[in-house]
Amino acid sequence: MNHQTAFSDPIIERKLFIQRMTFAGLCVVVLMLILIARYANLQINQHKDFVTYSEKNRVHVRSNPPSRGVIYDRHGEILAENRSSSNLSIIKERTDDLDGLIGQLGKLIDLSQGDITRFYKRLKRSRPFEQTPLKFNLTEQEQAILAVNEYLLEGVKVSAQLKRYYPKQELFAHVVGYVGRINEREISKIDPIQYSGTDSIGKTGLERFYEAQLLGKVGNEHVETNARGRVMRVLERNEPESGSNLTLHLDSDLQKIAHKAFGNERGSLVAIDISTGGIMAMVSAPSYDPNKFVAGISQKNYSSLLQSPGKPMFNRSIQGQYPPASTVKPLFGLIGLERKSISKSTAIEDPGYFVMEGIERPWRDHNSKRGGHGKGVDLAKAIIESCDVFFYHMGVKLGIDAMADNSKFFGLGSPTGIDIPGEASGIMPSRDWKKRSRGASWFNGDTINMSIGQGFMLVTPLQLAVMTARLASKGRQVQPRLVKSINGIEQSPIVMPDDFLADEVNWDYIHNAMKDVVHSPKGTARSIGKRMKYLIAGKTGTAQVVSINADEDYDKSKLDKSQWDHALFIGFAPFENPKIALAIIVENGEHGSSAAAPIAKQVLDAYMSSYQVTHQEISADFRTHDSVNATQLASHAQH
């Protein structure tokens, strides 16, 4: 067809158009069917999956963290509680410009560089749509500023949170411990569900030991949120279960007095309720404020704590290991009597030194001027005046094995099992121990050193207190405990089945000797006994930090204070019906009698007055020399 000359034919034109239109119409129907098929596929075949997605979009499960258990002392004074604080956090996914947002926040409230750096660190660990904290403990003013500007700050959340608080500050830092932010190492161990919504965990002390009980059970909330994360309504709610409250054996008043008594000295005091093993006071000086750790301690504060010469972070009560020195003499004396290495009538002459056959170097008596304690030194006198030479003699006769084996009953050489972590085991040397740790045989010289609590022997203040309590209770083996009751349920004392069995006469002999340490004119602790209105039993100790040659005198002016002797004291009271036992160590305090015993007196005075064990009754009992009416006294003690 020649298009240049011919006109188009309307019939053919229309036919061609109808052809085209029919083809297009077919295409339209087919494509429409494809569309419907697509929608049917989504709405019928994949319906269930998409319902799940849309529910996931809509419904979010929010954790309701439980409130952590409160810790009380025995009188119900709060040692650890929860205070509400408000924190500023950001949900990264809800903001388009994170850095810009932080810059904007920085203009509104005070944000330190540290806050921002820590925020970015946390952000790396956070899950999608999780609130990442930026600043803790907002002031009221800051909260108000943020509330006013809320509409500008997409993705910012101010939330109230319970924060751990220790009202007694440094007083119980080592015992109660503290909580801190969960770190990477801990995050791999904990149950992510139980800790959702909780960002801190017990780091030390009771807070760590009783973490499982204190934490409580997490609750949750199913909430409907819109795309911006705003909660539209709560669909379902499971209340959290608060953590268990702990009531301790500790007595805040005693603790306070003991803590104060240390002044600027370094050292530790542990006081135990003899019948239950409950720890009534546990001081490690110097101490620190645990509140600093709760929201994350700054690097500067932390290193200054670590580098402080007094080592405040170090829990001396359970981690400090010291030679027990003369405080161990009553125990070894008792073992000597029981093993019949000596008798009550055994007496020696003390020239001021002791010579072992075949060894050139003599052992000196640390507790006497030149010339020694003289003639007729028996066990009682050796305890009262702390004569070393008597114990050298006895030690050689008794032998290492008897000393080591029997000491175990008194908690020496192994952890006592107290309910806070990190306890050191101390060293109760034996032949076996020396072979293992030093690769050498045991020598008599080792026995002689050990018989006065020096040489290899090391104890923690807690072990000393436990030893004292077991001496006082005549061999009853009670484990020391801090927690008295959990949620009001009394925890029964843990008593080991096998008591240390000894002749009653020997027990009384040792007890009396210990009483005379304090209450006789020649006793090493007579200075505290003078004005005491009740009777106690005690023993002083002076532990050498550096060894002094036998022919030299200890001269403190030649030594740095860090090399001065440690001062020790153990004791129990009241003498007639022992209720409380304590052990004290004052680092580089020189003499047990002058540095440690006065602290004991202050604590025991407070104990006797507050527990209403009046001295009239005691002295009356003591005068008549009757066997102590235990039940009567016990009932008095209750009041």
Binding site: H3, A6, F7, S8, D9, P10, I12, E13, R14, L16, F17, I18, R20, M21, A24, G25, V28, V29, L31, M32, L35, I36, R38, Y39, A40, L42, Q43, I44, Q46, H47, D49, F50, V51, Y53, S54, N57, R58, E93, P128, E224, T225, N226, A227, R228, M232
Partner: protein
């Protein structure tokens, strides 16, 4: 009479034309459109957060649109044929001025601020281009000879490229398609059809490398795997598919769609409104909508087949098919079988310019449908 007019007109036998014919209204088309408007407002109320804000504005646009449609229907087809090139030229000028003085958002320059409102001239090209092509080819031979095909192609590509420059890929594709469909209905020979398909395929790598912008490429990649970036580029598609899928057969009920009511669905009152409809009215709602659309398109086909002139045929046919292309692009994009381009769902989506354009188109269709019957005679 114009010299190129080769047909004589007669009144239809009996002269008893129906009243609807006399007032130039295609009653069935009007009824279908009104139903669609009502359905659209219902969905829009829910999609707009159960607020009358968008509904009121949309209602005003609809009233204006329907009025314009009825006015246009009163003009004889010849008027539109004769003035087609004026409208087309005006449209081109507007497009040029958008490039020069336009205002825009998000890096695109699409609107002309004319004081009381903003105009999107590219929208009107969806009408002007088929109008122009129909007018140009309607007077010429069918099937068109190469020279006419060439000039038609120029007339289609000129506005298309101008719109690509804005950039507005979605509208430019629709404008191109509307012109191409007119060309197709005019009887474009199969060899041109086949070669244009090959040309399109061959130009794809060039488009990818030189024309498409980064965000546009991203959209295509997102189509292929929306789950790869659930919170970023894939968010829209994942959320709209979730809305559609969770609607099921019967839907969650009007204003009960959680995806849309809780704002998980982006652009829920404009381009993604079909997801709201699908979520709340289910597959049954979608099918009802599709049937309504098909009936409208069917009516357009009927009008085109019965049109008295080649111009009327091509124009009404291409407008009807373009209408379907809008539907397909939008519903395909929201359900995740086509890449995301800015394309509203006809009549249902909120948007004034799109509504006006559609009603102008339907006005032309009504004008064609009420054209007096002619007896064709070869001169």
């Amino acid at each position: 009479m114009h010299s190129t007019d080769f047909v004589r007109r007669f009144r239809s036998p009996g002269g008893d034309r129906k009243i609807t014919r006399r007032i130039n209204i295609d009653f069935s088309l009007l009824l279908l459109l009104l139903f669609l408007c009502a359905f659209g407002l219902l969905v829009l109320y829910s999609a707009g957060g159960q607020d009358f804000f968008y509904v009121k504005r949309q209602l005003v646009f609809m009233a204006i649109g329907i009025t314009i449609m009825l006015v246009i229907a009163q003009f004889p087809v010849r008027f539109w044929e004769r003035w087609a090139f004026i409208f087309y030229g005006l449209g081109l000028l507007l497009l040029l001025s958008v490039l020069l003085f336009g205002v825009g958002a998000k890096g695109a320059q699409r609107w002309l601020d004319i004081g009381f409102t903003r105009l999107q001239p590219a929208e009107f090209m969806k009408i002007c281009v088929p109008l122009m092509i129909s007018a140009y080819l309607g007077k010429r031979f069918s099937p068109p000879i190469p020279k006419h095909v060439f000039w038609s192609a120029v007339m289609i590509l000129l506005p298309t490229l101008l719109i690509v420059r804005q950039p507005d890929l979605g509208t430019s594709i629709l404008v191109f398609t509307s012109g191409f469909l007119a060309l197709f209905l005019a009887g474009l020979r199969k060899r041109y059809l086949i070669s244009s398909v090959f040309l399109a395929l061959a130009s794809m790598p060039i488009l990818w490398l030189f024309v498409l912008r980064e965000y546009q490429k991203q959209r295509i990649l997102t189509l292929l795997s929306p789950e790869a970036d659930r919170l970023g580029a894939g968010w829209n598609i994942v959320q709209s598919k979730t809305a559609i899928g969770s609607g099921g057969l019967n839907g969650k009920g009007w204003t009960e769609g959680t995806q849309s009511q809780l704002n998980f669905l982006p652009e829920s009152h404009t381009d993604f409104i079909i997801a709201v409809l699908a979520e709340e009215f289910g597959l049954l709602g979608v099918i009802l909508l599709c049937i309504t659309y098909l009936l409208i398109i069917g009516r357009c086909a009927f009008i085109s087949i019965n049109a008295q002139t080649q111009f009327g045929r091509i124009l009404s046919g291409s407008l009807g098919l373009t209408f379907f292309v809008y539907i397909f692009v939008n519903m395909g994009m929201v359900s995740g079988i086509l890449p995301v381009v800015g394309a509203p769902l006809p009549i249902i989506s909120y948007g004034g310019t799109a509504l006006l354009t559609l009603f102008i188109g339907f006005g032309l269709l009504m004008s064609i449908s009420s054209e007096p019957r002619q007896i064709r005679t070869q001169l």
